[in-house]
Amino acid sequence: MSRQGGRGTESKKMYWYLPFISPSASLQLMNSELFTLTYGALVTQLCKDYENDDDVNKQLDKMGYNIGVRLIEDFLARSNVGRCHDFRETADVIAKIAFKMYLGITPSITNWSPGGDEFSLILENNPLVDFVELPDNHSTLIYSNLLCGVLRGALEMVQMAVDVKFVQDTLKGDSVTEIRMKFIRRIEDNLPAGEECCPFPFPWRLPMLSFQL
């Protein structure tokens, strides 16, 4: 699935920053080729394990979800970004802070739907696919589907249910990679029942739980 990278290519370094709060913070540099090749090895192994592309796509999404669920905490710890007030702010934070922090790229945000609940992220270059060509027998494979899972998992932990999918992919011949994100609904907290929370009768508690948060 991979082809040889040019001998003269300089390996790009990705900058991983330790949390800003730590006074002894230092830059840790990682070779981006290592990251790309590791991801490629992962997808190759999944293709060997599961015979058909759909299963691989689902598995990548699931793995991405598990990553996203933890990654959001790291992101919140490092970036000190507060709660976003609307989906537009969320889009900005994802594109300008999150993608920059973790992949070193800044996708552009376009194609907002009239209701403001869908948008597209356009990635000019995708670091995951640096040396990759899709062979013909895997034409329905969504190679970078891990990213969709990561976004979905991370946003679910900040109470947003979203649907994320690739609509254009440079591996399939399109000029750019486009990820479409759609806001489905806000996930409300499910709390334990009133009695379990508080064994003592506080008459003001029950009306409070019905506040919209």
């Binding site: 709060i21 970004v81 976003c84 064994p199 409070m208």
Partner: protein
């Protein structure tokens, strides 16, 4: 100036972690109920504050104090809630709570593949590092005999 105890709750109300340093009075109820009571109170206070705030909200509920102790609160957008009880000499432990979250909880618990997310924290390393950090705080002194 002392630090009494620390609670970490997740979004659903289960207590992920509890640790105490100087607690001189037991509440007289089982620990399970104590956690539920604490979470219920924090949740109600937070929604009360959000609802009744007379000005625009910035951080929401941050701390409350009684004549003996102060409770400091930090909530992350991902729903993790930390509550630290100190004595009245500590004006704001928000930085300490932020450090506990960013540098200890995220680094040692969230990034640990053996710690399932949203399960009670079993990690010994986390407990040790947290203990070392809390003891190194400038306001963690011996028990104030006057309080």
């Amino acid at each position: 100036m002392t630090i009494h105890n620390l609670y970490i709750f997740d979004r659903g109300g289960s207590c992920l972690f509890y640790s105490e340093w100087h607690r001189r009075r037991a509440p007289g109820i089982p620990q399970e109920e104590e956690f539920k009571l604490m979470f219920g109170m924090l949740f109600s206070l937070r929604s009360f504050v959000n609802k009744m705030s007379p000005t625009d909200m910035k951080d929401g509920f941050v701390s409350f104090h009684t004549s003996r102790y102060r409770l400091h609160y930090l909530e992350t957008p991902s729903g993790l809630r930390l509550a630290l009880n100190t004595d009245l000499g500590v004006a704001s432990a928000r930085d300490a709570l932020q450090h506990i979250y960013s540098n200890l909880f995220v680094e040692l618990v969230v990034k640990n593949p053996l710690c399932p997310p949203r399960a009670p924290v079993q990690s010994v390393l986390f407990r040790q590092r947290l203990d070392a950090f809390v003891r190194s705080l400038p306001y963690f002194g011996p028990k104030n005999p006057n309080s």
